[in-house]
């Protein structure tokens, strides 16, 4: 399934709002392997870039091309937001929701929900209302709900930004397992420690422009641009 979507090619892609360019022009080529981390300081345009790729931010110039038709590509993607969005339903109903939308039978959807709840450690909470879960549990639920349709690609917009270290590690473990199962992940973060731990590739973005892309190891060991070097050193970059 991964091969159907990728490569993803952005050519002079940009998005503007009220005449102000938020991101771009961006030229980017991503293949279908591993976990790609979009890095950059707050306000760099990480979220907008992810939304641009996903198709929920309006493209005001250039192009975003998948290996298949854009609508078909969208069908095989999911998006996890920084602030977890949970439906005002039980944990089980949250998990079955995307499957039911796709016409999966109630029984099969329920059994998939139980499997995923167990996988992310939410089994004891299945019948509880999602709204009463902690922030970390809600984010795990959002990730499980994104993964339950077995998408080829999942975008994650700073999924651990407001969580403590333990919840962060648990979520990283879920993501690494998803990666091992063949799901392509594109995750944005400004947390360098997290990026070092989980990234296979890095896209470094600053001021709405992609400054550097490449394998994580070479990015962290030998950044090519002065902006990336400054960011990795912990300097304030603008």
């Amino acid at each position: 399934m991964v091969m159907e979507l990728f490569p993803l090619t952005l050519t002079r892609a940009e998005t503007s709002r009220r005449g102000k360019r938020l991101v771009g022009p961006v030229d980017l080529h991503l293949d279908g392997q591993g976990l790609c981390v979009v890095m950059g300081p707050n306000g760099a345009g990480k979220t907008t870039l992810l939304r641009l790729m996903h198709g929920t931010a309006r493209l005001t110039g250039g192009s975003v091309k998948w290996a298949c038709d854009t609508d078909e590509a969208r069908h095989h993607q999911a998006f996890v937001f920084q602030r977890p969005v949970v439906l005002r339903r039980t944990v089980e109903e949250n998990l079955t929701y995307p499957l039911r939308l796709r016409g999966v039978a109630r029984k099969a959807a329920k059994s998939a929900a139980h499997k995923w709840a167990e996988r992310v450690g939410l089994q004891p909470h299945l019948t509880r209302r999602a709204m009463v879960l902690s922030g970390g549990e809600q984010q795990k639920l959002a990730i499980a709900r994104a993964l339950i349709t077995e998408p080829a690609l999942v975008f994650l917009d700073e999924p651990t930004a407001s969580l403590d270290g333990r919840a962060m590690r648990e979520i990283e473990a879920i993501l690494l397992q998803a990666k091992a199962d063949g799901t392509r992940l594109i995750l944005s973060t400004h947390d360098m420690g997290q990026a070092r731990r989980i990234a296979d590739d890095v896209v470094f973005i600053l001021g709405g422009m992609v400054h550097e892309t490449g394998p994580a190891k070479s990015f962290f060991d030998a950044p090519q641009t002065p902006e990336a070097r400054a960011f990795l050193k912990g300097d304030i970059v603008e």
Binding site: L87, L101, M131
Partner: protein, 170 residues
């Protein structure tokens, strides 16, 4: 607009409906004045803005909450509506009950368009008004207690639903 309509004085609504339904009015030929249908028309005009306003507010809040997720899931318009209506069902029920609560206590408009005719268009509120006018305070009070019990029952129900609504959110 909805909020403005919510503030319409019921007596004025009754007067306008009366004018429209009276013999010389545009709908006079329908012969609806002093019938339960006329009372229903007046009640609908009074209650709908209230129900619509509460429903609109709760659906708007829910849409703000779900917007990103549903857009990202690429749901169809129909799926979107079903999701919002289902997840806002408690708030919508509260809106309906609030409308019922307002309707059951209404007297001015339905007195004008219904005429308070015995066995035809007399309801609890108009009967209370009539009995009080006649000096039959015992009967008026008894009817009043029934009305209070009904209104109280509805309000308790609204309160209970509101409670479960909050529980579902927090």
């Amino acid at each position: 607009m909805l909020n403005a309509l919510m503030g319409l004085p019921p007596v004025v609504v009754g007067l306008i409906v009366y004018i429209f339904l009276s013999r010389s009015g545009p709908f006079g030929a329908l012969g609806l004045l002093f019938t339960p249908t006329a009372m229903i028309i007046a009640q609908v005009i009074i209650i709908v803005p209230l129900i619509a306003s509460i429903a609109h507010q709760s659906l708007r809040e829910l849409w703000a909450e779900y917007h990103d997720l549903l857009i990202s899931m690429n749901v169809t318009q129909m799926q979107k509506m079903r999701t919002l209506l289902w997840d806002a069902r408690r708030a919508l029920l509260t809106a309906a009950l609030a409308g019922f609560g307002r309707g059951i206590g209404e007297v001015g408009a339905i007195m004008i368009v219904g005429g308070n005719i015995d066995n035809a268009t007399r309801v609890l509120t108009t009967a209370i008004a009539l009995e009080t006018g006649k000096g039959e305070f015992a009967l008026a009070l008894a009817l009043g207690f029934i009305l209070i019990a009904l209104a109280l029952g509805v309000n308790l129900l609204i309160h209970w639903i509101g409670q479960t609504e909050r529980d579902s959110r927090w």
